[in-house]
Symmetry: C2
């Protein structure tokens, strides 16, 4: 399946390179997602030509499927405001709001002037929500019905209302003030007897979120309760919209990318497909921090110049003691951050998490310390050197286990995203303390 | 919403601690996901008591919502085989197969003997699929209908068949040999005129996967096409089951966790909530590899003992040059791996990805190299030392950019999971080459 799909895309792209006109019938047969993939990869000029060539519905579906990193909003800028407005009208309001919020204000105004007042109002209200909240990722297209309708009336209403809607999985029951009373999954509606009132079909547990709920929390709730759609309400409990599973998959991917990049010392602003300037801007600050911490480590070494002078062999063990513990800390950090991100860690579990990491650090420290210490001893016929290396290794892996678990937990406790504790900060810890341990013990025991 | 929920859980847990009998009415009012959360956190003995106390349907729903890391299958072992069989019969077949495949074979046999033959057959066939494939995550409960039914007949059939089913979002149209012909979303079915044949309602683009398709690929397809459910077929195109969005959210989370842990040098077998023994076993091999690579770096240093002896100041710059480039490589690696995991990188994009990382490495190298070189110069009144440090920094960040992008791409090309290129291997590269550069240049230019 997938191979054929990629082949199709490649075929259309090669035909596109020759002649846009020839590609037209082929393009129209592709899935909007596949057209999106093509749009992502071609020049702005070809994008504009293709979008002008396609029927409005297909063009808008394809644009809505584009990765936001490929800047789909730029396509709108290249079109006439009339054409852009037609595409915006076809889009789901949440996608329209996302796209429009990326446009410069004068272009936004030109398009907004050309869409229906009703649509404009919906989009404007969606644009007001904070991007990373339930309000920011919801769509305002919901199927809402009063509780007193019978199943038969409800189905008639659904058929009428839902003509222009994207997929839906449930209907929402509201009172006169639009307050959300309950959810009826489509499955229940279909199975009900014709004369049953829809108000009687609602699920026992009403799961909903406030529009200000953080998108990460929204994603967790939908995952936990296995929901294809989650209703979003306002301050008075009034139904504002719904978040669907596809938005939530994007949230999971976004948050995982962020956590992984932060762990590696890459700012969350970096776009995976961004250019070199974006990358330099995102990474240089972290490397500068690293420069400072590494300089501190270098300074520690320079304080022990005398020791190194008298016993240069100890320098060979510096990268081992510092490096292995640095990685031990990164291991503990990754496990802790990921555990916080997926299941969460409760306050009363802090102690057991840290104890476990200390124990792991100790065991790994003893095992690796004995190996390295043994090598140090045998290579240099100096048992004391072996002892120094072994002790430094154990101590530094204990520090690694502690820092790798306690620091993210502390950050979580302080309400800071624990993922800001990157491996760069961890290795700073283990570098500085590792050199101090190794060279300090060396000074005390070897000179 | 969420706070109330956590409060509820805590309340039930504190009542549970006093008296199981008192907690019973409260438990029955909780959402199965909330009961699952409680089951995850209590002792095996309390688990058994609660599961015996709950109605079978609620118990099975709660067990199916438990995190697999909390070993829900252990609950089955503590129950009588009769009770366990009742719970298995209530579960969705895919969840039942997952649980049962974790049990020792004699317990499995005891339970299997007690469930209906039909159910046993379904579960056994599901257990035969590879865990990480579409077959392994699909459920065999599907709504399949012949194309010639009218909408009205189809709805009657749906109502009849779907009584015991979990949520569904589409019906599948099959021919006489069970071959999948098309998909009709519930929305389309509801909106259709009563006399229309369901065969005419199928979506134009039939998206399906073979049961051997890797779960990561399945997740990508469902994300790309925004599907709540994806049909799974066998060799002859026969409909075997469907994967639903909730399974796919789990896959995304699982794969992200794996990638993040691998980046940090943690084996994918490590369970986030596992004990210290599991952690030591998963991390020690990577630290041992790190020990070898760090020893190689140490060996490089020892080859330059003469240089260090004559110019001990250069030792202070070793952690800076090696450390900053190590982190630069980890940054490039994280971005590249994450990009491969989310959007994928095509062969013809390899060159541009590597070029970008080389450019980023060069710019960061020049900027940071000038800073460190300037410091080296001014602190030691030795311009040549400054030059050595600057050149080593630039060279090592170029190496970092190259290794961080080229190695995961090479692995992808070779069909190996690019995420095995951990930061441990990256820093080995930049350590060894960084020391060689710094000390080699120092020997050439300073002595």
């Amino acid at each position: 399946m997938a191979r054929t799909r990629e082949q199709n895309i490649e075929k259309v792209k090669s035909i596109l390179a020759d002649s846009l006109e020839h590609a037209k019938p082929l393009l129209k047969r592709l899935h909007p997602s596949d057209i999106a993939r093509i749009l992502e990869e071609i020049s702005p000029d070809s994008r504009r030509k293709i979008v002008r060539m396609l029927p409005v519905e297909l063009a808008s579906e394809a644009i809505s499927e584009m990765d936001y990193e490929a800047n789909p909003e730029e396509i709108l800028s290249t079109l006439s405001p009339e054409r852009a407005a037609q595409i915006i009208e076809e889009l789901d309001p949440d996608d329209a709001a996302d796209l429009l919020s990326q446009l410069p204000s004068h272009e936004l105004r030109l398009i907004m002037e050309r869409i229906s007042e009703e649509e404009e109002q919906i989009i404007t209200s969606l644009m007001a929500y904070d991007e990373d909240t339930a309000g920011g990722i919801m769509t305002s297209e919901v199927l809402k019905l009063p509780a007193f309708l019978t199943k038969r009336q409800a189905i008639d209403a659904v058929v009428e209302i839902s003509e222009e809607m994207e997929d839906f999985y449930a209907i929402y029951i509201i009172d006169d003030d639009d307050k959300l009373l309950g959810v009826v999954p489509l499955k229940r509606l279909i199975q009900a007897k014709p004369w049953i009132k829809v108000g009687e079909l609602v699920l026992e547990n009403l799961v909903k979120v406030h529009h200000q709920t953080d998108q990460e929390k929204v994603a967790k709730i939908m995952k936990e309760y296995n929901l294809a759609a989650l209703p979003v309400v306002g301050d008075e409990g009034e139904l504002l919209g719904r978040v669907t599973f596809d938005d939530v998959i994007d949230v999971f991917e976004e948050e995982s990318t962020e956590d992984m990049l932060k762990l590696a010392g890459v700012s969350e602003d970096e776009s995976l497909r961004g250019g070199w300037a974006n990358a330099v801007k995102s990474r240089l600050p972290w490397l500068l921090i690293n420069l400072c911490t590494a300089s501190t480590a270098g300074f520690v070494i320079s304080r022990f110049a005398n020791t190194l002078d008298q016993m240069v062999i100890i320098a060979s063990f510096m990268p081992i003691v510092a490096g292995v513990a640095g990685n031990g800390a990164t291991q503990a950090l990754a496990v802790t951050i990921r555990r916080i991100a997926t299941d969460g860690i409760l306050s009363r579990q802090y102690l057991s998490v840290i104890t476990k990491e200390l124990l792991v650090g100790f065991i790994n420290g003893v095992l690796l310390g004995l190996v390295v210490g043994g090598i140090a001893w045998s290579l240099n016929a100096n048992p004391m050197l072996g002892l120094v290396v072994t002790l430094a290794m154990i101590g530094n892996l204990l520090i690694a286990g502690f820092a790798g678990s306690a620091i993210p937990l502390l950050l979580q406790r302080l309400g800071v995203d624990p993922a800001v504790a990157s491996s760069i900060l961890m290795t700073a810890f283990t570098d500085i303390l590792g050199y101090t341990l190794l060279l300090g013990l060396g000074t005390a025991l070897l000179l």
